[in-house]
Every structure is written in C-alpha cells, then in structure tokens.
C-alpha cells in the first residue's frame, strides 16, 4: 500500500515543496550568501567577506542598541504578560457564572493585527499625554512603556486561554488532597497547581518570548523607532537598514543572519526545556 502511494509524489508533495522552495528555502541560502557580499539586487553581488558583519556590530550603527532595547522589551513583556494571563486564567477557572463571556472579550484584541493595533494605541496614548503637553515620541521611556502596554493588551488574552486549558487539566482530586493535608491557597498554588501546569508555563513563556523578540508591526506603528531610533527593535532596525539606507543591503542581511542565530539559540533552549518537562510529567 505504501508503494502505490509513493508514486503519487508529484500530486501530494510537489506543489507545497515548490512554493516552499521559492518563498523560503532558496531565499534562505541566497540570504546567507548575500550577507558576505555587497549588493543592490541579488544578481550584482560582490564578495566582501566579513565586512558586513563588522559594520553591523559597529557601536555607532545602532544595531546593538536595538538589541538592548529588544531585550528590555522582551523581559518586561514576558513577565507582565504571563503574570496577568495566569492571574486572569485563575480567576476564570473558579467556576463562576459568565466566565465564557469574559474569556471571549479578553481574547479578542489578539485577533487585531499589529499595524492597526499600533495606531489605535498611538492615538490613545497621545490623547492621554496631550493633557501633560507631551507626546509618545518625546521620550523613549514613553514609547517603551507604550509598547509593553500594547503587547500586554494583545497577548494576555491569548496566553490566558492557554493557561485556562492547562488549569482545567489539573485533576480536582489533587486540590482536594492538598486541602485535606491542610494546605492553604498559596501553598496549593505553589506546590500543586504550578508544578502540574509546568508544561503550559513553558509553552507560554516561549511563545511570548519569541513573539516579542521578533516583534515588528507594533513597533513600526507605535513609534517607528522615535525618538532618534531609541525605541527601535531588532526587526525594525534590519528592515530599515535594508530598505532605507542606500548601499547597506549587505549590512542589513548580515544583521538578519545574526538575528537568526540568536532566535535559533532560543528555540533550541526551548526544545530542551520542553523535552525535560515532558519526562517529569
């Protein structure tokens, strides 16, 4: 039976493979090659060795600065998003009436795209700041806090539904057993609930980590890096280097490769973390 299916490979595999080759696979290797060249289109590349990487890492370039800013955003958003999402999920799994309606409402912002979301928050934050005679782009701290608020608004509902799914899988007997043993609420939370939903926590931590690390649309719409690129995240820095700075496409591509290395490293750590949790559970 396997043999007869095998010959249908052009029908089953070829269309997706061809699209994958055009959209991702070929561009990935071309991109890797281009990072060592100077180019304006992919046909006029000239080999320059590691020059692009040196320029990308030059302290005057702003790339390293955007990395630091990204880390600040990632740390704050991973912590706040998960704390809020877990707390709300805990409230919504108390067997109260009407929790489904609340869940539906809290999740909704997650469906709105980064660009629309960014401008919605930009206009709202500016309306608030206008009372104090300032704007979102006057100080990088405003943009930073604004970005954290925006990310929370978008992601808390998403993480919340995952936490709810995790919490609902904790057998109620365990909570009862803990109560019988005399555990208070905090003790039950610390010693029963959290260890039981550790796989869920791992998933949520890495989902928020990778999505805030790669964030682009929200950053572009909210501040576009202003003031003076102080609120520019890595993805935005790369896109600007590539499309707005004349003759620096190669540097942009080198930055993209460095970005990939960091993102892949995070993904590998995630894989290990998930695997080891699976063994425990």
């Amino acid at each position: 039976m396997q043999r007869s299916l095998k010959k249908y490979f052009p029908l089953f595999v070829l269309p997706t493979s061809a699209a994958f080759l055009i959209a991702f696979l070929a561009p990935f290797f071309i991109g890797l090659y281009l990072s060592f060249t100077k180019f304006t289109t992919i046909t006029n590349a000239e080999w320059v060795g590691l020059q692009n990487y040196q320029r990308a890492l030059d302290p005057n370039d702003g790339f390293l600065g955007s990395f630091w800013f990204t880390i600040l955003v990632v740390v704050a958003s991973v912590i706040t998003v998960n704390l809020f999402a877990f707390t709300i999920a805990k409230l919504l799994t108390q067997k109260l009436r009407g929790t489904n309606i609340f869940r539906t409402i809290y999740f909704m912002p997650n469906l709105i795209g980064g660009i629309v979301l960014g401008y919605t928050w930009q206009s709202m934050i500016n309306a608030v700041l206008a009372n104090y005679g300032t704007t979102l782009v006057a100080d990088w701290k405003y943009g930073y806090i604004g970005l954290i608020i925006l990310v929370n608004w978008q992601q808390v509902g998403y993480m919340m539904v995952i936490y709810i799914a995790g919490l609902q899988n904790v057998p109620t007997e365990l909570n009862e057993a803990a109560a019988i043993d005399g555990a208070g609420r905090w003790q039950t939370l610390r010693n029963v609930t959290i260890p039981m939903i550790m796989p869920t926590i791992t998933i949520c931590l890495f989902l928020t980590l990778s999505s805030s690390f790669k964030m682009f649309d929200q950053n572009l719409a909210l501040t576009d890096g202003a003031p003076m690129d102080r609120t520019q995240m890595v993805a935005l820095n790369i896109v600007k280097t590539m499309f707005s700075q004349i003759g620096r496409q190669g540097v942009g591509q080198a930055k993209a490769v460095l970005f990939v290395i960091v993102v892949v490293a995070i993904a590998l750590i995630q894989l290990r973390a998930t695997r080891s949790r699976e063994v425990e559970a």
Binding site: I22, L34, I42, Q94, L111, T120, S123, A179, K214
Partner: protein, 306 residues
C-alpha cells in the same frame, strides 16, 4: 475549584479540615464579598480590553478638530461628524479595493494552504524516506526563522518569477505557511490508525481516492485549526504584502493602506484615520463573533503543537 467546596468535599469524605478560618465554614458573607470583588475585577478588565476599540469607534464619528481637543468625549452636538470620516476613508484611499484584495488573498491562501499542506503532511507521514524526513525538518526549521532573514531574496525572487501580484501572494503564503501547517497536520495524521486506510485499499480504492474519500474527511477538525491560524496571520500580515505588491498602486491590502495613510504624513486627518482603523477591525470582529469557539480552540491547539 473554589476553597469552600474543597472544604465541603473534605468534610464529606471525613477528612480533617485544617484550612484558613473563613474556609472552614462555607459561610455566606466572606464568599459573597470575594465573589463580588472578582466580578468587579473582571468587569474592570472588560473596560481595559474594549477601551481602545470604543475609543476609535467614538472618535471615528467626530470632527477632526474635536478629536484632538476632546479625545475622550462622546461625539454629540458640534463634535458629531456623521459618517463623513468613513466616506472619505472609503473613497479617497482606495480602502474598498484594499478590503477586496485582503479578502481575496486571505481566502485563496487559506484554501490553498489547507488543501496542499494536508496532502503533503499525509504523504511525508506515511512514506518514510530520508528525503521526506529531511523535508519535514526543513519545514519545522522555517517556522523558527524570522522573516527578515529571507525578505530581500524572497521579494527579488518573486519579482523575477512574476509573482508580484495577488495570485503570486497566494503562492508565497503557501510557502511561508507550509511550516506550521504541515507540522500540525502531520501530528494529526500520525494518530489516524493505518487499518482505516488498509480497509479502503482492500475495498479497491486507489491511494488518491483513499486520501480524498477517507483521510481528508477525518482531517476536518484539524483543517479548521490550520485555516484559522493561517487566516489570522495572512489577514493581518503587513511586511510581505507591502514589499511584494504594496509598492505598486494597484494591489494593496488593508494593513498596507493603513500604514501608508497613517504612517506617512505628519499633518494627517485624524478623523479619516479613526474611521479606517474601525473599518479594519470590523471584519475581524464579525469573523470572531461567528467562529469564536473554533478560533479559541484552534489557537490553543496550534500553540500547544507549535
């Protein structure tokens, strides 16, 4: 699981109840106050989560000067602008066409992704050779890689292959969507017992018939998950359509028009901007109202797999 019922259950099985004092008795007062506090909190959160949407809706009906002078006021009297902002937004910025292109690209891409990725996932899960395994890992790898890595070559390649049009976008989305979609489908195909397919073969079905008449119907629930995850992504995607088709004047999607109108000029018309933001949100809200249950389930399923 609420505290009083734990105490009740514990009491019912005759266990010693050594909980905090107010938990010992499933008494009314403490419980009611706690409940009320939770509801107040939940309603406050509704305000937080819906606030920005209410804000843009209110302002989209305001005169543009009132938006800057009274941003949080309800549009009444002089402030009321009727639907003028919407009319300007829809006519001047080709927003109607953008809605059309967004719809076309999203629906076509999602259809193509579900159809072809399910087939590929079936094949590479059932036929185990070195190259199907390699293909699987390459697809998984592509999920992790940030778009910035491939964007320049992809755009140039799409140009060379005449894919810089809405139909070409569908091809590109199939390529980019394949990673997650094949991954989710494969996980599901693995759980389908081989006996079902063997029975179909014995009944005289060819592999193609077996797939379309037996396997694909079984894949329906996971197809919905894949469709929803991809629809949300394609509909909201900005950078790819901007770089591939957004620079021409003919084909623009909603996020591209919003970014170009709002992001480009300093002295922008706030009223029109608000109306455009609302128009961009409406289709999503309608979609959500109709498929809410599937969307939340799909997102949970997708995240646990991915």
């Amino acid at each position: 699981m609420s505290a009083p019922s734990i105490a009740e259950n514990a009491a019912a099985v005759g266990g010693p109840v050594i909980a905090a004092p107010q938990e010992k008795r499933p008494g009314r007062p403490g419980r009611t106050v706690g409940l009320a506090a939770i509801y107040v909190l939940l309603v406050a959160l509704v305000v937080v989560f819906l606030g920005p949407i209410v804000f843009i809706v209110l302002n989209s009906f305001k005169q543009k000067f009132s938006i800057s002078s009274d941003p949080f006021a309800v549009p009444v009297g002089d402030m009321w602008a009727g639907f003028s902002n919407y009319i300007t937004g829809l006519t001047k910025q080709n927003f109607l066409e953008a809605i059309g292109w967004s719809f076309f690209i999203t629906v076509a891409s999602v259809g193509v992704i579900v159809f072809f990725c399910a087939m590929m996932a079936y094949y590479i899960t059932r036929i185990k050779t070195w190259w199907t395994t390699a293909l699987y890992y390459l697809l998984v790898f592509s999920m992790v890689i940030p778009f910035q890595m491939v964007m320049f070559p992809t755009v140039k390649l799409a140009d060379m292959l005449s894919l810089s049009n809405p139909l070409g976008m569908v091809v590109l989305y199939l390529g980019f969507g394949a990673g997650l979609s094949v991954f989710i489908f494969s996980g599901f195909v693995k759980s389908i017992p081989l006996e079902i397919e063997e029975a179909a073969y014995i009944d005289g079905c060819s592999p193609v018939q077996t797939y379309f008449q037996v396997v694909f119907p079984i894949l329906k629930p996971v197809s919905i998950t894949v469709a929803i995850l991809n629809a949300m992504w394609v509909w909201n995607d900005y950078l790819l359509p901007y770089l591939v088709i957004g620079l021409s004047t003919r084909f623009k999607t909603i996020p591209v028009v919003v970014q170009q109108f709002v992001g480009s000029n300093g002295n922008r018309d706030m009223g029109t901007m608000m109306a455009m933001l609302v128009l961009a949100v409406i289709p999503i809200v309608i979609f959500y109202l109709f498929a809410q249950k599937h969307i939340i389930e799909g997102v949970v399923a997708g995240s646990v797999k991915g």
